[in-house]
Symmetry: D2
Amino acid sequence: MLILSGGVTQNEVKSRVFLHPVQLRWGECDPAGIIFYPTYFQWFDAAAWNMFAQVGYHAKRMRAEHLAMPLVAAGCEFKHPAEQEDRAEVRSRIARWGGKSFVLAHDVVRVDGTLLATGSETRVWGRYENGPGTPLRGQPIGEALKALFRA
Amino acid sequence: MLILSGGVTQNEVKSRVFLHPVQLRWGECDPAGIIFYPTYFQWFDAAAWNMFAQVGYHAKRMRAEHLAMPLVAAGCEFKHPAEQEDRAEVRSRIARWGGKSFVLAHDVVRVDGTLLATGSETRVWGRYENGPGTPLRGQPIGEALKALFRA
Amino acid sequence: MLILSGGVTQNEVKSRVFLHPVQLRWGECDPAGIIFYPTYFQWFDAAAWNMFAQVGYHAKRMRAEHLAMPLVAAGCEFKHPAEQEDRAEVRSRIARWGGKSFVLAHDVVRVDGTLLATGSETRVWGRYENGPGTPLRGQPIGEALKALFRA
Amino acid sequence: MLILSGGVTQNEVKSRVFLHPVQLRWGECDPAGIIFYPTYFQWFDAAAWNMFAQVGYHAKRMRAEHLAMPLVAAGCEFKHPAEQEDRAEVRSRIARWGGKSFVLAHDVVRVDGTLLATGSETRVWGRYENGPGTPLRGQPIGEALKALFRA
């Protein structure tokens, strides 16, 4: 079983690119003095929520409409070590739309242009049947949703 | 570019399987009431250090010998949502030895036998040239090291 | 305004002491090679949930009965630096019962007996009026609940 | 033993107030849908490093000069629950200078002016005797350092 990672080369989707600025904190570094790698996934998740907020699906709306986007898979390649205080931006786009799932591609680029990491998340577009805490069911991804992310 | 994930099917290495028990905390869950996914990578990292400690490479020794095992890539497939208080174990093994790098495969299995997640980490076996904070250089992985993990 | 911290000396309550084992991970240490201090609060929170689970208030029951125990205040004194792989236990007890709130005292003691940190959490005993996501209202703490924690 | 918390009322020091913007992430919230409280301490730590960076003690310089500012104590009062996507700023100042230690006061204020939390950190101003990983020794805090933070 293979996970498509950073270099999602066949970008089937003409996606907008969304930017999410980050700065590496002391507490996100490990004793080697560089980024503790799960931090990248925390950034990916924050960037994913930011993408949806940018197109109108703010956290409050997601909650009100019982929407969620749980993960199926995630992967990352680490290209260059990030150090405390480094500023970077997560550049995110839709890499692929499936019937009820989608793939996000994320590049983490330091302000000087260095690619720090590149990864992807595969998520389901889902709805809680009876509100938070109840089972989640995948929802068909319609054209209206896709259009919001088109470049 | 592809990352080998959970189902590393061609287990070239006859590896011991190492067990690392975990229990999902309140603070590791998100507003959907299930595990926030970077937690799996935190568990993978802890399990990796546990593997090396089990064969004699304790944290103290790693530090004293200026050894480190930074990540090249990591990936995970999420199979079943984990909930607060769930007990599981991370079952880890060497999936492949390269010249200066290696791949770990991790399965997260709940106490009732449910596979929660399966993933992999690709790491370099490295040494700080002049102690912590100085550049890290990949080290050839010798037979002695490999032997420690053999089933 | 003062927060009672570790040395909650007037232990008005004859409380059981609850033990929660922890081991410091690589990713919970900072570039100084010691514990990143918010980790102690993550341990306190996990220890608090463990206390309630031990007396029958498991996570599942808390959810089912719409109970929660949000924080009013928390404090910690850091006595000795913890290093990666250190094993310790969080020793927790009820330090004080209020009408609708209570204070937990937590000591983090390394296996060799060294006190690493000592702190406290002040929490409300609350119930979501209409399930998760709805407003939380403080509940009177009855004798039955208090009795569960009595030494 | 008492920890001075948020309401450090006797502000002996005429300190500049430093601002550190934050936004609450999905993964920093718990199943109750509000901020998981150790997040505040992660913000305090980031805000502390930001203060020092603002006056010239950037992370790189701290490392180069073997400086560190480990914690002696920390405390926080939680005033209002923060929700995902909330934007706030941590307003930080020097509350007190000791001989080799100092107290920072942090207020977390949501963009609409709501005080979310107020807390403090007591830190030592220290230097690694022989670089990272070696013992840390408290350094006398001179007038030059104090002057950098004066309002």
